[in-house]
Amino acid sequence: MRAWLFSGLLVLLVGCATPAPDSLYQQLGGQTGITRIVEDMLLRAAADARIKQHFVEVDIVRVRDKLVEQLCELSGGPCTYSGDSMEESHTGLHISRSDFNALVELLQAAMDQQGVSVRAQNQLLAHLAPMRGEIIER
């Protein structure tokens, strides 16, 4: 009985400490993978004629750190987002619907580069899509 309880607790503990192997966080490659994805996406954005103008004079290190934190939390990883709200951070940027889609394409390209499966990509995009209203045309 005590052995059962013990092993049950152990499973619970392990289960909490390390997310299930197929969690979205894991599929994105954990902390390392997410950092690579975000950096790759931001590099592409800085070079993309459609949206690079938004990223000049921006504290890009901060944006990277906050984005990594946010994607980590969204995907079920061990992080807590500590940045500004989406409205706050995108107000005054006048991001258009097309700009938003352009960044989605760059995120997809970055995830492809990282070998993230189509299904995991869709799962992450499903978390991000509802935020569009707080980001565009502000």
């Binding site: 097309s98 889609n101 189509v118 299904r119 869709n122 569009r132 209203g133």
Partner: protein, 284 residues
Amino acid sequence: MRRITLLACGLCCAFGAYAEQGRLLATGGASMLEGAAGGGIVPWAVLTGYGEQDEWGGSAFATRVETGDYRLDAGGVALAYGNRLELSYARQHLDLGSLARDLNLPDNSVSQDIFGLKVRLFGDLIYDRLPQVALGVQHKRQRDFRVPKLVGAQRDTDTEGYLVASRLWLGAAFGYNLLGNVTARYSRANELGLLGFGGDRRDQHQWLGEASLAVLLNPRWAVGVEYREKPDNLSFAGESDWQDVFIGYFPSKHVSLVLAYARLGEIATYDHQDGVYLSLQGSF
């Protein structure tokens, strides 16, 4: 037909240079048989091409359907502005094959022009809480009315309307994106209008249901099914509802290809008209 296609390609290239293409891959759809953005036989609520707000989008297409006894060729162009308004033109040409001989018909083909207009009313395919909903009108003009008239069609010109809703659910099909479309069409066109409008049996518009469902295996490949209810206005032959299964390939925002296996049932007395549907689209 060939001239239209050539002209369309030229237009596409000319406009393409100015297009921003702010929408995501495949969200402009293919060109359905009547020229509107959609699948093959069912429209989608999206507007052709890839224009978002303040941007132009456009497309040109050529489609062939072979069913054994018949061959349908369709081609046309469409232009959209601001992800709001779509104008389209298509010509359809149906080769009647052995029917012309068997029934001793005066023409061995029929054709029609279709002028289309589609307006997005509200919603967004992917992002908003509401699905994307559009209202469409198609004005159809029969060009060879002798055969349709002979089999009981009441008029050679008509206008029909449709209301269509489309939604892309991210990751909804076992992790893959799922696209759904439902259409309510108010029409009295016989075989799309190729056999005229209204008939000896019935001459009023009626509500007809259409739907399609597609799974996106990745941003470039889609597989799906379509269903289109049809009227049955002519007494000389039955008119079957149409259905198909399709594969769509969107290698870029400039080209798409749709291959389908269509079950078109009875068309003008010949039953079991199953066949291959192939459509090529250029877009921007």
